[in-house]
Symmetry: none
Subunit: 148 residues, 2 copies
């Protein structure tokens, strides 16, 4: 389970399938037939996709919370209710559930964004805006720092 790097854009086909970038598949190929978990992210307009073995930690965190508290209920929602398992098919594709696709405004193309342990799924235009905002912030810091 190597880290996931980079951003990649692939096309949704008529059946709602899309190829997972080869570099992501290769990074995880030491666990064959691995299940993935797709869920909405805390970041608006994107989904998170986790390998099931890594996702186990979230489940344990939820179970450690005291029952029937607002935090526990909220975490149960995030970790279970809105999350769905998915498999990578023999051609390296996943199908994105229609309700989640709609939630983040997916249309023809899908942008995959590597985040180390997991990846994000975005509409390409929104992904670009998200990444650009971070870069702009970093450049601002780099330019301002020496003169201060």
């Amino acid at each position: 389970m190597k880290d996931l790097f980079g951003t990649h854009e692939n096309k949704l086909d008529a059946k709602g399938r899309v190829s997972v970038p080869a570099s992501f598949r290769n990074a995880w190929k030491d666990v064959p037939e691995m299940t993935l978990i797709i869920r909405p992210s805390a970041v608006p307009d994107c989904l998170e996709v986790w390998p099931e073995p890594t996702y186990e930690q979230f489940r344990q965190e939820v179970r450690a919370l005291p029952k029937n508290t607002p935090e526990r209920l909220a975490q149960e929602t995030i970790v279970f209710s809105q999350a769905v398992p998915a498999e990578i098919d023999p051609q390296g594709r996943i199908s994105i559930p229609a309700d989640l696709a709609e939630e983040i405004g997916l249309s023809a193309s899908v942008c995959f964004v590597g985040r180390g342990d997991y990846f994000q799924i975005w509409d390409p235009a929104k992904a670009k805006a998200f990444l650009k905002a971070t870069r702009a912030h970093i450049h601002k810091v780099a330019i301002e720092a020496p003169s201060s």
Copy 2:
């Protein structure tokens, strides 16, 4: 892993590949088949290229940050989403991903700038401007300092 010195200019081929200067390869040749990590720099209009073993420290820094904070998300973007691993091929070349090349305005030629532990990749004209601006800044400091 000796330090990288100097600046060198090489040409991109039709497929986005370019020879890494021999002096850089030689400086790193004690780690055979080393993976490199290419990412946008905090300095606008250039890329940074790090040896994977050195890059490990950045990954650990990210993982030490609390999840879902603005800092963590920004660092995940810098360290993973915009970074890509690259290998030096048997001819001593690396291929620069199209999106990163576009980001810094690369065209036919690539300028490699040694920075000790890592090197930068620039469009030659911009590299020249960057180095010149830095020298001017240093001269200014050298002249002003004694009079203060």
